[in-house]
């Protein structure tokens, strides 16, 4: 088997007394899209920052391309592209100047950069905004420009921290499409997200993080199969009638989650569960049947929801 592109053992990040990343182990293989999933504060960003060598490792061991981030950070940064959580495009520069200067930082000559800018503007669908200021661009455009900027040096590894947070659905889908193309072209992707659908769409393999630790690992499908029965019956009740109904749910499903606004019943057969509801005289205001998602996995693993 190939040596992993990124290998971490006991990786730890502490800020004073607070432990952001708590002795985690993972391997990321060349060519895969690897996800870090978890709520805000789970330690995803700290992990990304350590991989991209802009945050020193407190303890443990890690290699990226077989290099040591502590002593060979520059060599690593030469070969990666970083898309941070918050766009940090240079607002004093135009769209194409943002790409240009990043190329210069990566030791590219002007002659090398020029065709690369054309390519990337096309990739990011920003060709007609080439000489525009960055400020007036939409959120989706800024995000695509940030991604294009990260690709200027044709990186072998692209690190994306919450690439679609804050974007509208249309912009998200366009971005997913671009990231998909990137993967097709052979880049290794590391993606953090707190969106389950994003992880399901993009990631070959992922780890679920919570409070600085990895609580599960696998492909999206594996995780769902392992931690969440096939189907979910979601029940919503009229005010006040939920508590009474909850008492009668016992045995109807493999597992249930009582949330503030609804009840989730995890089951291998939604039909049987629905019949059971009926025969027990439980009449929710609304019943929704859906397939299990990574969101359900997360709920199962941590007892909490991802966002809110």
């Amino acid at each position: 088997m190939l040596k992993p592109l990124v290998e971490a053992r006991g990786l730890t990040k502490k800020f004073d007394d607070f432990t952001a990343v708590d002795e985690i182990d993972f391997n990321i293989q060349q060519g895969e899209a690897f996800g870090f999933l978890g709520p805000n504060g789970a330690g995803k960003t700290s992990t990304m920052r350590m991989i991209s060598t802009v945050s020193p490792i407190t303890a443990g061991h890690m290699t990226v391309f077989g290099l040591d981030p502590t002593t060979q950070g520059r060599g690593i940064r030469q070969r990666i592209g970083v898309v941070p959580q918050e766009d940090n495009l240079d607002l004093e520069l135009t769209v194409s100047e943002n790409l240009y200067i990043y190329g210069r930082y990566h030791d590219m000559s002007k002659a090398e950069i020029k065709p690369r800018i054309d390519e990337l503007l096309d990739f990011a669908q920003l060709t007609d905004r080439r000489d525009s200021q960055v400020e007036p661009l939409s959120g989706g455009m800024k995000r695509r420009l940030t991604i294009a900027r990260a690709l200027i040096n044709e990186p072998e590894l692209v690190i994306l921290d919450e690439p679609t947070t804050g974007l509208d659905p249309q912009a998200r889908h366009l971005l997913w499409d671009r990231l998909y193309r990137l993967k097709q072209d052979g880049a290794t992707l590391i993606i953090t997200t707190h969106y389950m659908d994003e992880a399901e769409q993009l990631c070959d393999r992922l780890v679920v993080m919570d409070e600085g630790k990895i609580v599960a690992e696998g492909s999206p499908r594996q995780l769902i199969e392992e931690y969440a029965p096939r189907e979910v019956v979601e029940l919503r009740f009229l005010d006040g009638s939920k508590d009474e109904a909850v008492l009668k749910l016992d045995g109807l499903a493999a597992r249930s989650e009582i949330l503030a606004d609804r009840v989730l019943l995890y089951t291998d057969s939604a039909d049987d569960t629905q019949k059971g509801l009926h025969s027990r005289g439980i009449n929710p205001e609304q019943v929704l049947v859906r397939r299990s998602t990574l969101e359900d996995v997360f709920l199962r693993l941590t007892g909490r929801r991802l966002i809110d």
Partner: protein, 262 residues
């Protein structure tokens, strides 16, 4: 890439941005020193020269050499404050920069290189204007640019380190109010520090602009005697500014690293 070429790459980005923002810097860089030269040197100077017999040089020349160093300080301090705060807070370009092969040290050095170029440009223009006003001869005026640059860079370095310890831009204005303006007035720019009470004279000795002003006059003001400059050897003035710059650079790199690579 060598450290120098990395710093130059960073300076290049500042040059590109400057092409769009230079207009905002014209007043402090060029207009203010010239206004002081006219008001103090030519206006007040005519009074001074007619009043005292024992001042060894024309007052206009005295003020022009003082302003060369003071303008270096003014520009250098400005360069170490607002653009640095922008890099970590408003424009945030320092954060984006360090995800590339560039490091915090490359940013600090790149800023200083670009700062030196701008100081050279601004101070050369001031030198030429001083010549046109008859305050200096062309040769000494151009030579005086060098200690002006050194003074400016010493301020850029130290002010950069200080700025990086501030949480927001609010305190930057107080730097100018409580440090730069007093230095401007009491470091011998407009009158020899021998005119100050003894206590303030010893304070002036330990302040940086005094050494910049002295250095410019010792190099570029012919006829400067003990009424104009002190007997401190020039190497003391130079060492003061070089050490100040070195400490500033060291602290800037350290503080910036902690700030943007937590």
């Amino acid at each position: 890439m060598t450290a120098i070429s990395r710093s130059l790459r960073f300076a290049e980005s500042e040059v590109i941005a400057y092409r769009r923002t230079w207009r905002g810097t014209v007043i402090t860089s060029f207009v203010n020193p010239v206004l002081f030269l006219v008001a103090m040197g030519a206006g007040l100077g005519s009074l001074v020269d007619s009043g005292t017999g024992d001042f060894a040089v024309p007052y206009l020349a005295f003020v022009a050499t003082g302003l060369m160093a003071a303008s270096g300080m003014q520009n250098g301090a400005t360069d170490g404050s607002f653009p640095v705060m922008a890099g970590v807070l408003w424009r945030k370009n320092f954060f984006a920069t360090i995800t590339t092969p560039l490091s915090p040290a490359d940013i600090i050095w790149g800023r200083l290189i670009w700062g030196a170029v701008r100081l050279a440009f601004v101070l050369t223009i001031f030198a030429v204007i001083s010549v046109l006003f008859g305050a200096m001869e062309l040769g000494p005026a151009l030579v005086a640019v060098l200690p002006g640059i050194l003074t400016g860079l010493a301020f850029t370095a130290v002010v950069t380190a200080w700025t990086l310890t501030r949480k927001d831009g609010a305190s930057l204005a107080s730097l100018f109010r409580f440090a730069i303006v007093p230095l401007f007035l009491f470091s011998g720019t407009f009158f020899p520090i021998s005119q100050l009470p003894d206590f303030l004279q010893s304070v002036a000795y330990i302040t940086p602009l005094f050494h910049g002003v002295e250095l410019v006059r010792k190099i570029a003001l012919p006829g400067a005697d003990s009424t104009i400059v002190t007997s401190l050897p020039m190497w003391v003035n130079v060492s003061y500014l070089v050490v100040m710059m070195a400490i500033g650079i060291y602290l800037s790199v350290r503080i910036l690293d902690r700030k943007i690579r937590p």
